[in-house]
Symmetry: C2
Subunit: 367 residues, 2 copies
């Protein structure tokens, strides 16, 4: 496997020092920033995540900040999810679409106040799209990337660890809500969210200077909890059906194809630039959609480009993320499958790099 | 050094198969696509590039295509370089700026015809900025990323190799001009350009399906020229003063700070969205600027984050790219230095990870 060549362009994070001290073995690049992918091994990291608690450097979830009188209007221009009922203190998972209804990102929007929002982005320079719209529509809003780096605390012991550092009040945060907590005299937004199904929090660390202080505080407080450095885990996220922008969907796909129709209120999302393009697909439904697919046989090799899915000799979809699941003793995968073959139980074939495999479309992810 | 974890999100290229067969040892990620960084070793690759000819997979220089009646107007909105005199068949290096005059990219614009342009981009999702502006200003133009992957042919024997594949007419292409050449029945734009100072071409390979055919044709034709797979070379590009967006400049910098004032005609670039912001700096000049800096001592370690530059105990700049140059027997580097200390011959100190080093601001790059 080739090495990664580091340079300033692949940005380090406020926690890189801790990540390196913890013995990171693999990196990917996400929003032009380093994102760890493996510490002990993907499988060992997976087992640990499901039993204990991990601290994740997810600084690469960069924030796009909207600030000013037109912030809410601009936010609604970006997404077909109706944001009128959203209150400060809430986080919404929002599909972001272009004027054709193609997905540009699938971030979490954080409403700090009526005129101040953070968009915690997946892997595309969403900042440029938002700045372009703000400029073109002459909106009264500032758009930039603040010095905010999310730190994930994920796993079944996350509540216990967080309570030791931030106090018992963190236990009261409800799912996809956030509240403010003090650390070293600074107020930080702490949300109950994260890119795993094991529960936990994301701390929006404002100010790189306190990054390693917080990292160290979490590790000191959690020694007896076997807290470890971790990262989004390929196996666990596929089991849980957590999509990855750029892997499982691109700007070729509508939110509906990605199974995100439930986060769209296309009819009432007045102002969304992709609304017209999405009205028909919202009404009639997509012709292909994301599906969990179990792939037969031994552990599949890494999926580094789409694997075609066939039925009766014709291509009916593709697999874009796949891994062997130790807990479910099968290859779990995420694919995009045509309407004709997306029903649970449908038998298909997947062309992997080491040959054709039998596979079965699933009714739900492995949770 | 950690490994790179591959996934669909880090896009493979039409030439990845050839790159892997040639034994690529290191990758970086550029525009969410794989870019090789080393084959034999950075130093061996450097010596070979300066004597022979290399084929470079620079597919990561993605194209943003503008097509339609407003294409030229939109192109001028992006840059303070006056494009009125530009003819079809020309390539222009164009700083791209936002409304504050901050650099968003430093691509090569390729004018295919009056209403059709390619922008061959550096490492930022410029597509999103351009699409956002086109949408906001309601321009009559299509903006997308076509299936075009540049293949570089660089080195002193590039003319000979290219003539064997495309015919002697390629020798007539002048610097930063392009012409159309046939390969397997397809017309490809071939430009005399590239990210080295050793001379050569970039072939805009339209259609991924012919990628490996062309790769193989170049290697077959060049066996006696010792043609090898190569890539932009860190040492050679620093010697030559070729800037890297994200390394040597970011959206914090104006084109003038980057030494790109000569590519700005701010006064006459009517329509450029950053024009107002740049008028003053264009007139008065920047307060800091890119400079070559020779750093004393043995080979410096890799520069993965900015190294502060000091004079008299005060910070007067930073170094963002650095490497040992075998040919010039010094550490060559690119830095941003304040007005007070940017004159050639100025002695400064650079704080590298292994200690403070003496250094000297240079009057010109090592060419």
């Amino acid at each position: 496997m080739p090495q990664i060549s580091l340079s300033r362009r692949l940005r380090r994070t406020p926690f890189s020092e801790g990540v390196e001290a913890a013995g990171v073995k693999g990196y990917t690049v996400y929003n032009r920033m380093l994102l760890p992918t493996v510490f002990e091994s993907v499988e060992a990291d997976y087992h640990h995540l499901k039993k204990n608690v991990q601290v994740w450097d997810v600084s690469c979830e960069r924030q796009v900040e909207l600030r000013g009188p037109d912030a809410a209007r601009l936010m609604q221009m970006l997404t077909p999810r109706d944001l009128r009922g959203m209150l400060p203190g809430q986080c919404f998972y929002v599909p972001i679409v272009d004027e054709t209804g193609g997905m540009l990102n699938d971030p979490v929007a954080v409403k700090l106040s009526e005129d101040r929002w953070w968009i915690s982005i997946a892997d595309s320079d969403l900042l440029l799209w938002v700045k372009g719209l703000a400029n073109g529509y002459r909106l009264d809003v500032l758009v930039d990337e603040p010095d905010v780096s999310p730190l994930g605390v994920q796993g079944p012991k996350a509540d216990e660890l967080m309570a030791r550092v931030f106090g018992d009040r963190v236990r009261d945060i409800r799912f996809f809500k956030f509240d403010m907590f003090e650390f070293e005299g600074r107020d930080l937004a702490v949300a109950r969210s994260g890119y795993s199904k094991q529960g936990g929090f994301e701390i929006y660390v404002e100010g790189s200077d306190i990054g390693m202080h917080l990292w160290n505080a979490l590790f000191s407080a959690g020694e007896d909890l076997d807290v470890r450095a971790g990262c989004p885990n390929l196996i666990e996220r596929i089991e849980g059906g957590l999509l990855s922008y750029g892997n499982d969907m691109t700007d070729d796909n509508t939110p509906h194809e990605c199974g995100l129709g439930k986060f769209c209120n296309t009819h009432t999302a007045i102002g969304c630039v992709g609304r017209d393009a999405l009205l028909r697909v919202a009404k009639e439904g997509p012709v292909q959609q994301i599906r969990p697919i179990a792939i037969d046989g031994d552990a599949v090799p890494p999926c580094v480009q789409p694997w075609p899915v066939f039925a009766g000799g014709k291509q009916v979809g593709q697999v874009t993320s796949a891994a062997w699941s130790p807990d479910f003793s099968t290859n779990v995968s995420i694919g995009m499958v045509k309407l004709s073959h997306w029903d649970a139980g449908t038998k298909v074939e997947v062309e992997t790099p080491d040959g054709m495999r039998g596979a079965t479309v699933q009714g739900q992810f492995w949770i």
